[in-house]
């Protein structure tokens, strides 16, 4: 379990990158939902935390592949592989990411 930041420091529509290996991107959508995915686009090497967030989709800032934050699946080219998703919780006002690998899930 990795602490990310205070919930109030991650406003709606914003994202933050955590420097794990590989790095993880945490998003808070306009609806207030929290999602975490691997930060590196599966197409090349752009950072998805710098992408364009719209609803539950994030568009890669380099070649505009789009990923569904709920599933990690790409919704359009040029990405063809999913990013891993990670569970997010808020405990006492602090956002935490639970690494997929530690929880033993593939996606």
């Amino acid at each position: 379990m990795i602490p990310v930041c205070r919930l109030e420091d991650l406003p709606e529509g914003e994202s933050v990158r955590i420097e794990t290996t590989p790095p993880i991107a945490v998003f808070r959508t306009e609806d207030g939902e929290l999602y975490a995915i691997d930060d590196t686009c599966t197409h090349q090497d752009a950072s998805l935390s710098e992408g364009w967030l719209e609803g539950c989709l994030v568009e890669c800032p380099l070649h505009a592949a789009s990923f569904d934050l709920r599933t990690g699946l790409p919704t359009c080219l040029p990405a063809r592989r999913a990013v891993r998703t990670h569970r997010v919780t808020v405990d006492d006002g602090t956002v935490h990411v639970h690494l997929a690998a530690e929880e033993g899930t593939a996606a």
């Binding site: 090349q44 950072s47 710098e50 364009w52 800032p61 380099l62 070649h63 505009a64 080219l77 040029p78």
Partner: protein, 394 residues
């Protein structure tokens, strides 16, 4: 349409094949490509592939599963030699022909050559085979490299070579590289990246010729100076691959002339990517090669121009640790303003910057170095604005 033939099996050709299937074409799909390789991505050739950070597998644009779904006849290692006047027969190397109802021209561009570039040690960088050959020579220990041409591919190649520990000089005939793309002010900022990367930039002087008998030994400049070199990389631009269309009914003028909808003089022949001059301009950018096929294929299947494609120009380049992104339509005389970040000593400072090109109080284009997030915001605004303006002008 019963048969559609895509000529050129690379980025725009593959995207066209995908669009054909996605838009419901279930007839015979023939894809002709003169390279032996399955479609691969070119941008990494001067970047991560050259430095060894990416391998050939990562260049692949498609996989077995998708290939099976496309259900196409791939004629790889096969060059198209001609298109008959009616645009109904594609002539192939060796005298074979393909009878077809529709044609997508996606033959891209080739690296411009320099006279005398047959010497060993002289390279261009356009194809996977080019990149393999160069990468192998670069692996033989530190060498003296001269890159002729300071455009994006030249600059990226110089950056990759310097990163591998070679001694690199870039020679550019113009007073400053990249002025047509970025305008003088920002071109100067990007040129400063060479210096920061430890690469010599020699500008404002042409190349008189290459020195050497079997293997290249140097590059002779117009003023008589000779730059010693073990490897020379010629990066002086690309020419659209239209020679095979001589004698067809198509108009060829720095590319295949198309209307705004990628449709040529023949309604059942469309052109996409680097080879296509769409609505008066020809782009050599990855994004246009991936965006044009949707419209081109829609018009091909409709039999006339029902949609137009003038997406906002966008390209990126990676060099010396800087990710450069540019979008929009700048014109000479636009005012350039650094909106975020700053310059240090004429080069992008540590955190990069965002520059806006402005004319009459409106933003015309945006340039970013390592600032993808605000760049994307402005790029979207520009695209939105354009989509508002264009329909009104039609």
């Amino acid at each position: 349409m019963r048969t559609v033939t895509v000529v050129g099996a690379s980025l725009s050709g593959l995207y066209a094949a995908r669009e054909l299937r996605a838009q419901g074409f279930d007839g015979r799909l023939v894809i002709v490509g003169d390279e032996r390789h399955r479609p691969y991505d070119r941008p990494p050739l001067s970047k991560d592939f050259l430095t060894g950070r990416a391998d050939e597998e990562q260049l692949a644009l498609t996989d077995a599963e998708e290939t099976a779904e496309l259900d196409a006849e791939w004629l790889l290692g096969t060059r198209a030699r001609g298109l008959d006047a009616r645009g109904r027969t594609v002539l192939l190397d060796g005298g074979r022909t393909v009878s077809t109802d529709g044609v997508v021209i996606a033959t891209g561009a080739s690296a411009r050559r320099l006279p005398g570039d047959g010497l060993a040690g002289v390279h261009t960088l356009r194809t996977l085979d080019d990149a393999r050959a160069l990468r192998e020579e670069l692996g033989r220990g530190p060498q003296r490299i001269v890159v002729i041409g300071g455009g994006f591919i030249g600059a990226e190649t110089a950056s990759s070579c310097a990163g591998l520990g070679h001694t690199v000089t870039v020679v550019e005939a113009a007073p400053l590289p990249l002025v047509p793309q970025l305008g003088a002010e920002m071109a100067a900022v990007c040129a400063a990246l060479h210096r920061r990367g430890g690469v010599d930039l020699v500008t404002g002087i042409g190349v008189a010729g290459l020195r050497g008998t079997v293997t290249v030994t140097g590059v002779e400049l117009a003023d008589g100076r000779v730059l010693p070199a073990d490897i020379v990389i010629v990066g002086i631009g690309a020419l659209p691959n239209t020679a095979w269309l001589a004698g067809s009914a198509l108009t060829l003028h720095d590319g295949v002339l198309c209307d705004d909808g990628c449709v040529t003089a023949l309604p059942q022949v469309v052109a996409v990517g680097d080879v296509a001059r769409v609505g008066g301009s020809r782009a050599e950018h990855w994004t246009s090669a991936t965006e044009q096929p949707r419209v081109a294929v829609a018009n091909l299947l409709a039999g006339r121009t029902t949609q137009t494609a003038r997406p906002l120009p966008y390209f990126w380049s990676d060099q010396y640790g800087a990710r450069i992104q540019f979008a929009g339509r700048r014109r000479d005389g636009d005012n350039v303003r650094i909106a975020e970040g700053e310059l240090a000593d004429g080069a992008p400072a540590e955190g990069g910057f965002l520059a806006l090109y402005e004319r009459d109080g409106r933003t015309t284009a945006v340039l970013s170095v390592n600032r993808p997030r605000p760049f994307m915001r402005v790029r979207r605004e520009l695209a939105r604005e354009e989509s508002r303006v264009v329909p009104a002008a039609l």
